[in-house]
Symmetry: C3
Subunit: 348 residues, 3 copies
Amino acid sequence: MISSGASQSYALAELALRLELPFQGQADLQLTGVAPLHEAGPGDLSFLHDPKWLPELARSRAAAVILPETMQGSYAGNALWSKNPYLSFARVMQIFYPAPACEPARSALAVLDPLASIDPSARIEDFVRVDARAVIGPEVWLGTGVVVGAGSTIARGSRLYPGVKVYANCSIGQNCILHANAVIGADGFGFAESPEGYQKIPQIGGVRIGNNVEIGANSCIDRGTLGDTIIADGVKIDNLVQIGHNVEIGAHSVIAGQTGVAGSTRIGSRCRIGGQVGFAGHLQITDGVVIAGQSAITRDIRQAGVYVGVIPAQEARSWRRLVARLRQLNRRSQDSVAVPEKSSANEE
Amino acid sequence: MISSGASQSYALAELALRLELPFQGQADLQLTGVAPLHEAGPGDLSFLHDPKWLPELARSRAAAVILPETMQGSYAGNALWSKNPYLSFARVMQIFYPAPACEPARSALAVLDPLASIDPSARIEDFVRVDARAVIGPEVWLGTGVVVGAGSTIARGSRLYPGVKVYANCSIGQNCILHANAVIGADGFGFAESPEGYQKIPQIGGVRIGNNVEIGANSCIDRGTLGDTIIADGVKIDNLVQIGHNVEIGAHSVIAGQTGVAGSTRIGSRCRIGGQVGFAGHLQITDGVVIAGQSAITRDIRQAGVYVGVIPAQEARSWRRLVARLRQLNRRSQDSVAVPEKSSANEE
Amino acid sequence: MISSGASQSYALAELALRLELPFQGQADLQLTGVAPLHEAGPGDLSFLHDPKWLPELARSRAAAVILPETMQGSYAGNALWSKNPYLSFARVMQIFYPAPACEPARSALAVLDPLASIDPSARIEDFVRVDARAVIGPEVWLGTGVVVGAGSTIARGSRLYPGVKVYANCSIGQNCILHANAVIGADGFGFAESPEGYQKIPQIGGVRIGNNVEIGANSCIDRGTLGDTIIADGVKIDNLVQIGHNVEIGAHSVIAGQTGVAGSTRIGSRCRIGGQVGFAGHLQITDGVVIAGQSAITRDIRQAGVYVGVIPAQEARSWRRLVARLRQLNRRSQDSVAVPEKSSANEE
């Protein structure tokens, strides 16, 4: 699978033109695929975006390489010079391996409510169910077993992989990708305690997802209680992520796998959130915040920057000594440290 | 979506009667929906359950407000007085936005084993599969693509959203809600090491879920090895939660998103567990325990109370200094702290 | 459910023969099922693998018990003597409760692409979709609603429970078990930042899963960017686990629930990873590593052993004191501790 599957080959000069990059070497060199430096063979284009791979470059059998433009003069082979080789790699991958086109189709084994509106250019695979008043836009691709609830809309060019469930009254923008078994619009987790047990608070808001959003497999975006949960344009969400009710995620923010955002928290735009991060509810996180994986975010973050909250694991004996030492410290400090009681508000 | 969708309007006096609350103001005021203070418009009922929102109350255009009864005398508008405004909000939401009724139906594209028993009042949507000896009770709603395995029972009034999978020999009580793609009864994670690799231990127990339980999207409740995994009445489980084999969750406990409970742990009743909490296996957690999000629970908890185990994230430089400082401490204490070796038992 | 459901009964001597264990007592004693010591009744076989259960043994009504061979002479009842009673328990469970055989079937409501190759001994349940060039081997069992993408192969004897989605160009070995709603081969999480937002990097690698692998419900194994994500023979993965693109998991490693492994990390063979562990990307973890639940792994691990990274939760006042104490320490050390700036590389 490494470099196979490319739909066609491209000459070096043609790629340079399409990528708007200067090149060096044999203009008509035919490139048939993309591969990492250490696996590339004849015909493959490769790339280097981190100087630590320079030894690989020397050994590589790649036919041509995307290199940082700062390396001009120090490499003699076929090359494309880029200010941002990683971005150029992404673009060249999109050229060699374009997403398959959405060929219009309507499975006879799909059930489309007569009150739903389905664009004729949409692709509706087997065992899909679209409920009343749903709107399926042009070139939308609903994979096998997708369910779109009443009144929900999926805009032009979006692809829902098999098993995605969209509850009623949600909207998904253009050119989104939702991976298999993701769930959009399940009820937010809202209950009020009563003597007879918890009373469910009906969740009557929706979910609004912007354009160019990607959502990973088995991730969940809950609907709002009152008002909507909002995922802005360009947001990328990995697998198994939980987004609570009435959360807002700002444009072009990225959230890695298994992170959870509790209800009503607002995350700004262009944030980068690692995996397994937990956000308490009702927080405000400003734009441009970077958070390391597994961190616990229990307070507002008002300043862009990098935030960390995890102690790396250690060999067990060493770790146990640390924990014992912390207990000692704690015991010793028992009377000398004032503990602000208000900090308990965020604890749950 | 804020206040729309209510099926009908209610007079203030009628709501007061149904909620059994005293009211103040115009008895025949027609209320058409529920909205938060800052978004409410004419016709909307709103609520205030935390004094921090008092400034919002002053600015709100809500037609009437549910207020703490302690505020009587200090507010002149249309009001319902409640000992517990948040609970009254839940109840008024249930009045304005009742769950849709389960209209009996049987899709021609569902496959119901002739040996299954399906109540005529059940609603069976498309692409559902019900296996032999399963029992689907009155007014049970099986959404698109639900699978109910052999011998499993779903009791009166429960709703399984699209894509829920129930394995064989599980039971789900009355009036439960299972959100999309939840999985009930997959094999517990049980293997015995052998020279040829791990040997699977067949998981022949089941899952027993009580009445009024809600389980979130993409959550997993594993079946027991021998004996059952038990979720008692009134338990509320959020999305992406993992409940291991032979776990027991006591009545009216609440578990937030992405929490995991390892095998054979018993959690008491009326516990409140935050998100991303991890429980080791074979623990006993007593009733009324509250656990902050992301905490690691590695020992029994025998006393009700609040437990916390997470250090909030900090700006990266400050955090790194802390970690370096901890390493120093640890190095210094290397010989002076006795480490109890038995603590290792819980580590995995 | 405890001891019922066994398909037939076995004489003590016959079990001894099949398990290759010496026995003591009545050779023709008929055993009808397996149960834990405290729940076993007449006819039940039980087991003891930890001396802490000795008091249960004295009280048990089990007809026969699998015991450590070191106990010979100290127990007078019917017994099987084993070097490894837990492994013998697994094997006896497999005898009493064998996995149901895969009866060949092809649902009329499954959609099998004419270019797919389906072995006649396979079992294809309702609402299954198999795409072009997929290969479904002998005795493969595809549960209700399973989707197998174009060019993917499922080898002999594997069982995919309802709702499993396998994307295109993935391969699954022999005798694997994939639990409900697991997703194999969704796109890895790869994007390059650009002024117009993140650019998707097409993920053209696949997923290769070996033989005898078990993957839990709602778990996700992403496809590689270039090259494959690899899960070697005998690996056991629990529910809600996230395996990123180009990850490699070595043979006979075990990963508990909700753990996440970020892209390109390689985990060795015979590792045991607890639940909710997070691995940063691009790490090398050697063979035989044991990691406690919830640990954060941010660096290579080159030596087999036990690694821990979690501080157990405490009662809230005590915990808050600890956190306050840590802040004090940190403030005091502000100028005295050198912080290595390179440690930031792994933070995301």
